[in-house]
Amino acid sequence: MAMKTLMLLAAEAEAPLTKWGIFPNVDSAVFGMFFGIAMIILVYVMIQRARAGLPIPEIRRIPGMEAFEEAVGRATEMGRPVHITNYAEDVGDYDTWAFWSYLAHVAKLCATYDTRVINTNTDYLTQAVNEEIIKQAYLEAGRPDAFNPDDVRYCSPWQFGYTMAVAGIIAREKPAANFLIGYFYAESLILAEAGALVGAIQIAASSATSQLPFFIAACDYTMIGEEFYAGAATLSKEPVIYGSVVAQDIGRVAFTIIIIIGAIMNTFGNDAMIRLIMF
């Protein structure tokens, strides 16, 4: 009877408001916190090792990264501009942060080869940062006068307004190289086909999985998923950045091990791993 009463009380009791008194009662709150701390420590350790010159795992070369110079070189030979854009994200987004590495790299190449670079934007704040990055690249190349702020263009915050503007710019300016880098939606294929119609060499890098098939079909080189972030890190060639990429690879191995162990445990009816992750 006592047991039955206890069970009834337990059933009627409301779910606890917090986990351990301080974490909100949502899935993975505690696990997420510890995972986050572990990743920060891992990134910090790998960066310290890289700085100290201690051995850290090698990163494989990402296909497509070498093509940047080839594409800008081709544009220079043809006397045509280079176009680079990321569509979807604002200044607070990690895709934009990764995009800036590519933008800095392309802008530096263009400034060095004295080739015009056109950047189109859908976010007004991103556009402001892009302008600074390109200006700085021209300054570093010793050609501050060659920088044209009108080539860093804010098109529209509206998806297809932006798409129309960029497709029009590609058709009119006929860039010899078209870089589509960042997060894209339905505009991906329209922009890639607009580039293909003017004969541009096209390089795409995106973490938008639903758009990757379009890029693969329409572009000459496509960096998929995580390659987009790893490529951004390797562009800077700094040991600190390299260290963080190694850390994320270690994180990926850890995830794989957790998935394999969890799948085996779950197959045999033990859900401890699931409960641990969901805690």
């Binding site: 909100p24 990134v43 976010d123 339905a186 890639a192 999985t209 079909a217 998929i224 995580e226 972030y229």
Partner: protein
């Protein structure tokens, strides 16, 4: 100083934001009964983002006024852009966004233009597929066969050719399996990789290792 202050701010706000998501006392922190600090801070972000729109307006106007002034190629389009941009804004300001004129422009121009651009995908998918889908090796053959099955499994004509009640569930049955199993496996693998890459990128920015958001190239 010009670089240090934003870097410190980025780190401080990242910590505050994490706290507001992961620590219950911070989520529930009230400055007045029923009014949480988090909600107020979020509102300020909303106002900042709306005010930032002005920057876009200034940039767009500057760029197209320059084009008109210097009579660059296609400068007439720039005139048209400025008319439409300010015209629509003025109509909205004078008669309000729920006025008939404002809504008519939305219904009669914006929606059809939007639909037109989206529908161009159907044409571009056809031309891209014609140009790029070539049987060059085993991988591209698999890609092609899978594409055919998924395309036919999605439409009625596929059902007519090989019914879902027939062997293997017809095109639809195989399509469902492809979407549910290999496609889901690939999406999860990519998502985990993307998450880790994004997470590492965020840590780099918050720790001040990646400073491109300050406008530099390093």
């Amino acid at each position: 100083m010009k670089r240090e202050v934003p870097m410190v701010l980025a780190l401080v706000f990242a910590i505050i934001r994490i706290g507001f998501e992961l620590l219950q006392p911070m989520i529930a922190w009230e400055f007045a009964p029923g009014k949480t600090v988090f909600t107020r801070l979020s509102f300020s972000l909303t106002f900042m983002s709306v005010m930032g729109l002005l920057m876009g307006l200034i940039n767009l106007s500057r760029q197209h006024i320059n084009t008109i002034r210097r009579k660059r190629e296609h400068w007439v389009y720039s005139v048209w852009l400025l008319i439409v941009l300010y015209g629509y804004a003025i109509i909205g300001l004078i008669w309000g966004p729920d006025s008939n004129t404002f809504i008519w422009i939305y219904d009669a121009l914006i929606v059809p233009l939007d639909s037109t651009m989206f529908s161009m995908l159907a044409f571009f998918i056809a031309s891209a597929a014609y140009r790029a889908f070539r049987i060059r090796n085993v991988e591209s053959t698999i890609l092609l066969v899978v594409a055919f099955i998924v395309m036919l499994g999605n439409v009625s004509i596929g059902e007519m050719i090989w019914s879902s009640e027939a062997w293997l569930g017809g095109f639809k049955g195989i399509k469902d399996w492809i979407l549910s199993v290999p496609n889901t496996a690939h999406a999860r693998a990519l998502s985990i990789g993307i998450f880790l890459g994004a997470y590492a990128a965020a840590i780099r920015v918050f720790l001040g290792l990646d400073k491109k958001y300050l406008g530099g190239t390093d």
